[in-house]
């Protein structure tokens, strides 16, 4: 029976040993010379370089997809080794640069590429997921005074830190000097790669193609929990403390502006319910600090809180043009 089936159907795939020719057993001397010498290495480098060059040409840095922004944001990653807070500045950390601080909304909404294009050339971003603005300012004040943009949200005034983030910060604190060297060198290589090749996070890129993973209501529950009624009284206390701290920083020589970054309508409703929208504007007016409120602008997000690529560009353009008109924020 088995042999009958074999005769009927034949081999699934004819055995290839008899047909396969190995390039390791080449036919001519020239052929052998190429494959057994440095030829394959040169060929590999040439083809790979050509493909990467092709990608570089095809990948338009000014064309954000629906999901990710094509932002070579990490130009430099500066640790605060002297600081109790373990944080990094992405972008430019020089004294004459603009420092933007805020939570993860900042990292998704502020595009260094767009700011640069709009004339705000040297920008550094100091951010953390669910970061508290008081922690960010404490780290920032260890730098020499400079121009500062504070991204405000109720959750960044007062919210409990997630255990996973606490654990990550603890791991960061424990890094040995050698591990810091490793990380610094890896960052430098990554910066070079970002500049030369415009890499993509392939998962996000694929999501951007299909937009399947955009869930505008995903973080409503998170914010509802963070801003639950028992946490609200502390928000006003923190706001008052922030006002005092910003006033002190201005006296030290900082030039300050504040921005309320947008979110999806559902999250905006949650935030407005917990914390009156006018409070930030009032604080800034009291301090005589410029304030830009992007709430209610109809921006689209991936998860309710983080802007989609094209909307991030729109928000960054708005911020850049606003900043350009403020005294002290013109590009130097």
């Amino acid at each position: 029976m088995k042999s009958f089936i074999q005769r009927l159907l034949g081999p699934v795939w004819p055995r290839a040993e008899s047909r396969a020719r190995s390039t390791n057993t080449p036919r001519t001397r020239a052929h052998r010379g190429f494959w057994l010498g440095p030829g394959p290495i040169g060929l590999t480098v040439t083809i790979a370089a050509s493909l990467l060059l092709g990608w570089r040409v095809v990948a338009d840095p000014d064309a954000p997809s629906t999901y990710w922004k094509f932002d070579p944001a990490v130009e430099r990653n500066v640790d605060f080794p002297w600081s109790k807070s373990v944080m990094s500045i992405y972008g430019n950390a020089d004294a004459d640069s603009v420092l933007v601080v805020g939570d993860s909304r900042t990292s998704s909404a502020v595009s260094l590429r767009v700011l640069h294009r709009e004339g705000i050339a040297d920008v550094g971003v100091l951010w953390g997921a669910l970061a508290q603005v008081r922690h960010l300012l404490r780290a920032a004040r260890e730098l020499p005074p400079r121009r500062l943009v504070v991204c405000l949200s109720p959750a960044s005034l007062n919210s409990p830190q997630l255990p996973r983030l606490v654990h990550m910060l603890e791991l960061e604190r424990r890094l040995s000097p050698m591990q810091r060297i490793d990380r610094r060198l890896d960052d430098e290589l990554d910066v070079l790669r970002q500049r030369l090749l415009r890499p993509v996070e392939i998962n996000s890129w694929l999501r951007g193609r299909t937009a399947e993973d955009v869930q505008p209501r995903r973080q409503e529950g998170l914010y509802d929990g963070l801003l639950r009624p028992e946490n609200r009284p502390a928000l006003d206390e923190r706001l008052a403390e922030l006002q005092v701290e910003l006033a002190a920083m201005r006296k030290e020589g900082w030039t300050i502006a504040c921005v309320r970054l947008p979110a999806e309508i559902g999250v905006e409703v949650v935030e407005n319910k917990a914390f009156a929208r006018a409070k930030f504007a009032r604080m800034c007016a009291d301090l005589d600090v410029p304030f830009l409120d992007l709430f209610g602008g109809g921006y689209a997000t991936t998860d309710g809180s983080h802007l989609l690529g094209a909307d991030a560009d729109r928000a960054s353009t708005h911020i850049a043009r606003w900043l350009r008109g403020l005294p002290g924020f013109e590009s130097r």
């Binding site: 396969a20 083809i47 790979a48 890896d186 430098e188 996070e201």
Partner: protein, 477 residues
């Protein structure tokens, strides 16, 4: 030092130059010094332990060789093994023992700080097995003792294999120190190819899958895992650990090859195995042969009747599981494989285990072949659930989601559409398909094919933004 860091490749340029260009004795000294530097880069405090372990075995092997008295030889062997295994047990299993007998202060946040900060010296499981194999080989008169402590310490500490293998035997490595091998273009080609593939597997596949697998295992606790997502958790971890460890081994072997050394292969497309015994000839091959030669055969192997054979298989795999880590879930993983191997031997299913260049007569045989691969694949991935799960509760819940939940409700197939990261499984599938084409149909692993694969990996490595890198999984073992 990790292979996927810039620091390592700067270090490697120095190490390669030292080995290739200095006079042989100077090259050995420099390579040893650099290997110790490599080991000490993150935690220098365990250098002494490495040196002590090497010294014990060097000295014990010399005494064993010098004596003709069986009693003296056995005494020295027992002393060396006790010391090696004692150190390994102390550093690796103290927390587990204290936890098991309830002396860990309740565990978690209430555990004493010295226990909470307990660190297992990196690579101790690997270099202990290497030094033990040396002493065992000298005792069995398979190997003459090494005449130079410098050479022996270099064998133990040689940086490509020091931290996570392959577990090289002294008789494979020491003769390579007698003279420097010429570096041919073909050797350079293959070495670079192995490094590139290893980096690709680690940086693209393993690091890419890690956060998704982690979140899938976290989601088990909340019970919000569909059957499809549960299967991804198991298969994703299988691909992650393969890419991670095969990637590491590939870089180690490639780096050694570029210096002129040859090391044994550690992986050969393990998920195309048609039996569990074949799986263990393809997965972590250097550990498998160590366990076979020094433990299974040492226990009597299959020479003492069927019952004893099954018991030996079970003991070997139990200890192999425990070698991987101080947790009862690793023991369960080992036991599962031990029982599987015993059943396979009992049923005679392990007979066609070599699998190389079998004839492919027709559709029937081909289907049978795929069927057996599927059975072994599922069995191995059930094992991975225990291996990866932090507790038995998580493991059993996940298995319930994989095998029972599909008959009770929706399969949750929409997970596939929402999970572009599934594309990260493709390189692992392609690698296995390539090996199958080679073994079953005789397609050669030509230089041209290497060019195509290397180009693909280079482009992926260069363009894939991997986010946070994760430590090699086998560093913890």
């Amino acid at each position: 030092m990790r292979f996927d860091t810039v620091s390592f490749w700067l270090f490697f340029v120095v190490a390669w130059s030292a080995w290739r260009f200095l006079p042989l004795r100077g090259a050995k000294l420099a390579t040893l010094a650099l290997s110790l530097f490599f080991y000490a880069w993150w935690r220098p405090e365990y250098l002494g332990l490495l040196g002590f372990s090497a010294l014990v075995d060097y000295f014990a092997a010399a005494r064993i060789h010098a004596s003709s008295s069986r009693r003296v030889r056995n005494t020295w062997l027992a002393a060396a093994l006790t010391l090696n295994l004692g150190l390994l047990a102390f550093f690796k299993y103290t927390p587990l023992v204290l936890q098991t007998i309830g002396l860990d202060g309740g565990g978690g946040e209430t555990a004493p700080s010295w226990l909470a900060d307990w660190v297992v010296p990196v690579g101790i499981s690997f270099y202990t097995f290497q030094t033990m194999s040396y002493t065992l080989d000298v005792h069995a008169r398979r190997l003459a003792p090494c005449g130079s402590f410098l050479d022996f310490l270099l064998y133990v500490a040689f940086f490509p294999q020091l931290v996570a293998g392959p577990i090289v035997r002294a008789r494979e490595f020491l003769p390579q120190l007698d003279h420097r091998r010429p570096l041919t273009w073909q050797r350079v080609q293959v070495g670079l190819y192995e490094c590139i593939c290893g980096l690709g597997l680690k940086m693209v596949v393993a690091d890419g899958l890690a956060p998704h697998v982690d979140s899938a295992f976290h989601a088990v606790r909340s019970g919000a895992l569909s059957p499809t997502a549960a299967w991804f958790a198991a298969i994703g971890f299988g691909a992650q650990i393969f890419a991670d460890f095969a990637g590491y081994s590939g870089i180690a072997i490639g780096v050694a090859r570029l210096m002129g050394f040859t090391m044994p292969a550690n992986f050969r497309a393990p998920y195309m195995s048609r039996s569990l015994s074949e799986f263990w000839t393809r997965w972590h091959m250097t550990l498998s042969r160590w366990l076979r030669d020094y433990l299974y055969i040492g226990l009597g192997g299959n020479r003492r009747g069927p019952l004893r054979t099954y018991a030996n298989l079970l003991i070997t795999m139990l200890l192999g599981g425990l070698w991987h880590g101080a947790s009862w879930t690793y023991v369960a993983w080992g036991a599962l494989h031990g029982v599987g191997l015993a059943i396979e031997r009992l049923s005679g299913l392990d007979r066609r285990k070599s699998g190389r260049r079998d004839p492919v007569p027709g559709v029937g045989d081909f289907t049978l072949r795929l069927g057996r691969i599927a059975v072994v694949f599922v069995f191995v991935h059930v094992g991975w659930v225990f291996f990866r799960a932090p507790t038995f509760g998580v493991a059993t819940t996940l298995l319930e989601r994989m095998f029972v939940a599909p008959f009770q409700g929706s399969l949750g197939l929409e997970f596939i559409a929402r999970s572009p990261h599934l594309f990260l499984l493709l390189p692992v599938i392609a690698l296995h398909a390539g090996q199958a084409a080679h073994e079953w149909y005789g397609l050669e692993k030509s230089a041209a094919r290497r060019v195509v694969v290397a180009v693909a990996w280079i482009v992926l490595i260069a363009l894939h933004d991997r986010g946070a890198s994760t430590p090699f999984l086998y560093f913890q073992f």
